[in-house]
């Protein structure tokens, strides 16, 4: 088991893939280190939201992902 990181929207181009598997557990600092410099820079801006196991984190720095969890990195949206 591992933690799956999903890169949504334009973040997938920056990451070079739609998803990545990393060893758990994973906290905020671990996430920053795991995603590469380009995505990390975006992630540290207020505009990118983070969900863990399908729930949006009100404060992404409290991330505490366990093996089997899915983390979604959600950049600003453009629907409608």
């Amino acid at each position: 088991m591992a933690v799956k990181i999903l890169f949504l929207g334009p973040l997938q181009d920056l990451a070079g893939a739609g998803e990545r598997m990393v060893d758990g557990p994973l906290d905020w600092n671990g996430l920053i280190e795991a995603v590469g410099l380009d995505v990390a820079a975006k992630l540290q801006s207020e505009k990118v939201n983070v969900a863990c196991s399908g729930r949006l984190l009100p404060d992404k720095s409290t991330l505490a992902a366990q093996d089997g969890d899915e983390i979604a990195l959600l950049p600003p949206v453009s629907g409608g």
């Binding site: 999903l6 929207g9 334009p10 969900a51 949206v77 453009s78 629907g79 409608g80």
Partner: protein
């Protein structure tokens, strides 16, 4: 009644509205909005992506919020995902109410939230490849009107 859907395939707004009207027989007015892929800027296709665990639940919460905020009998919000051709419908929002102002305002409210507070990302294919669409400042200003 609330009718919220994520659609993988094209849809007919006319048929959806006819069914919606039938499902809300007591309404004095039904307002609706259809958003389409704008056929300009040499756009060849549009690709809409979403995040399954959040997108549909978020749309359902939005529909509930519209029902609570306005005096509605029903609200409909359908949104496409996947690949779309120019002029194809992307989104359909409708609101049924006893009086017109509630239905008109509810459609405006729901569309503003779908544009800048629902979990969708779109990119368009032009002659030089795919480009992600950045959110517009205007969309956020539109959303702020409802605070």
């Amino acid at each position: 009644m609330i009718d919220v859907r994520l659609l993988e395939k094209g849809f007919s707004a006319g048929q959806a509205l006819a069914r919606f009207a039938k499902a809300n027989p007591g309404s004095g007015g039904i307002a609706s909005f259809v958003g389409k892929v704008r056929p300009d800027n040499d756009v060849k296709a549009l690709h809409l992506t979403h995040y399954e665990p959040l997108t549909l639940p978020g749309m359902e919460e939005l529909a509930q919020a519209a029902m609570s905020r306005f005096a509605l009998e029903g609200v409909l919000a359908w949104h496409r995902v996947g690949y779309l051709q120019p002029a194809a419908p992307i989104v359909l929002v409708a609101a049924a109410a006893r009086h017109r102002r509630d239905s008109l305002a509810a459609v405006d409210y729901t569309m503003d939230h779908l544009k800048s507070a629902a979990w969708f990302w779109k990119r368009e294919k032009r002659s030089d490849g795919w480009h992600w669409i950045e959110p517009r400042g205007q969309d956020h200003d539109d959303l702020a009107r409802w605070n």
